[in-house]
Amino acid sequence: MSRSRYEEDEDVALSMSPLIDCVFLLLIFFLVTTMLKQDLKEVEHLQLPASRSSLEVPPDDSMLVIAIDADADIYLEGELTTRSELLDRLRQVEQEEPDRRIRLDTDGETPFYRLVEVLDALNFRNLNNVGVRTYHEKYDD
């Protein structure tokens, strides 16, 4: 009766090498398949104002993004929009989802009157869950 060759070994131990191989393979698999997600609602030409007291918040796809650029043009969800359309959309949000998170992206050179106008429109529509996006070296570098 033949005996297994392993049974002849006196030092029986669990080999870690295949486990390490598998871990490496998994790591390579995730590295290859992971895609960097782009913020589609972002207006690319905005130069966000710098801030030292900002907090990092996790990205949220359900957030309504309003952006105002240096020319006082308004963008809604990354698309150029008009004042009437923005006001109509805010009215819609107020009716359907008044607690929805709203992110306000502005340029460092955005005219202040336009910012006040948009903030007033949000306030008048009772949309208070509003955050302003800024640039912070700690998070953005």
Partner: protein
Amino acid sequence: MIDVLKLLRKPLFFAFLLTSALTLILSILLYLNEDLRTSTFVLLEKTLNEEGEEEVRVKIEKPKPNERQVREIARNQERKKEESLEEKAKEIRDAIRKIQETTDVLEMELEEFSEWNQLGRMAKEIQSLIDRVDQNFQSNEHLASLTPLVERLATIGSLGEQINNDIEAFTEADLPPGEQKGLLDDARVLRDKVYDVLVKLDQEVNRLENQPHVTEIRVTRDTLRDLNDVSRRFVNEIERFHSEEASLEMEALAELESALLADLLANGIEGFMLPEDETIEEMEVPELYELIQEMTAYGDEAFAENRAAELAATENISMVEAQEQVYAPETHTGPDLSDSLSNNQPSTLEQFQNYSEALNQAEQAAGNMARTAQNRAQQATGSQSGAASEGQTAQQLQEALRQRAGAMGQMNSLARNQGRAHGNVQDMRGLMMQAYQVDPQGGGGSGEGLDGRVLSHTYQTDLTVSGGTPESQTSETARIDTAKIMREALPGRRLDASAARKGWIFLDTWYIIGPWQRPRVNSFETRFPPEIEVDLDQTYLGKKHPNTKEPLNLEWRFIQTENIRVNPPDELSDSVYYAYTEVFAERAMEVVVAVASDDMAKLWVNDLVVWEDEGLSPWRLDEGFRRILLKAGYNKVLCRIENGPSVCYFSVLFSPIEGLNL
């Protein structure tokens, strides 16, 4: 060989071989498949930053799709956008239909009260009186024996018939001048002959004073008197109608109609039919976009006609005059994308990007056009949300619009402050209730519901349509402490449960546009674009700047102030400005509004005139007060301000009625 087998039995060597094999397979795959290669490896890119330092960044290259994939993606995108455009096209079509429906109802109302129809009604009345007199003559032996009168009556009868036939045969617009003269002559002859018969019959009645059958003759004489009165009025009306002024009006109408016809033919809108669902669904993207643009241009005309019809109905003026006063709005129909949208078979990434951008532009432009059309439909039906007009039958709509037009006409006169003492209080709640088509006992209304909250549409005060209110609220004039209000009034635009405690709230946030040149006489009769439609994105040409002599480019400007008195930007003398804002009422609310201006002002709340103050008067907080109704939800407030020679200010204050003791 044995060594190799032994080595293979070693797990580490086996793992090494396996990894090598996998790496080799992956390398071959990457070598053969470009897509996989470009998406797998990150590329390091060296760039210079703003300070001139070299930076290394990770460059991510997305896979470049091949021609087949590009077309597939384009087709998918096209399908999605096509659905969206179809939806927008249907929304625009439905809005135009709603506008046309209300215009038809208003025009029908106008037609019923037109001068020509008035003449028609009088002619029918004359005919009926002639028939009655005729029957009396036939049934009474004594009267039948009066041969000369019977003969004259026969002539009167044939004249009456002739007049009725003429009026029925022609309409106001196509009555030839010769026929006008003939009609007038016939009416005059009829009037003279009726008078002649009346005199003769009167003599006969006097002669037969004590005879038993005189009573019947007296009845006939009285009927003849009525006929005489009506025929005299009829002649006067025809003479007025035939006068120079009426002819001019007809000429103006004919000119306007021919101009409109020429314009329509030139623009190819003649015969434009609003498409049915099936037609819209069969269309491709470029056709759909073109259709939306055409419908929008058609909708502009439909809306202008609707505004003119409403103006004619409320101001009691002719349609021609109303059309002259109404500014024709022009909606921006988006960019011309016919070429870009036709290229729906892109073969390169660049072509696809252009096509995709064109699709997005088309969708956005269509969205804007649909939004404008829906807002106009709401304005035309007098409904804030449009929901009030849903499900109404044509008869109900007609009744509602008739009620609204009637109430608006009366409100115009009640709103006027000219000739009234300072502090006068006018109650407009009953009329506003009619205009809102609200049941006085509560219910109805069309304010918005928010976040599932049901807004109360019931007005709290005991209110009747005639305006009878509790004692404390019926005084004709009111005194207020201007200094105290100036000190204590709070800024805001939201009236909630605590508003009554707060007292006066002044509107602090406005969109203001102007200046336009102020007309020297009857300035309120000149209506500038915001009176027809408030479009915050629209720009206009205003009055000429006194220095440059160039017309000013006007756009709506956002103004927020801490002062009760608002000073329009770009203040110039002899100018007209408009200010627009919205007021939120937590429930249907009865409020007092105080408008003060230097110099003239007119205020609309939900498109209803509540204040009109002519004359170059200085600003006074107690110029007058109006008790009005606000709908639950958002209420539109538009103010027209006119500046005379010097400074220009205006203020609008609101307070719930229960918070005051006027």
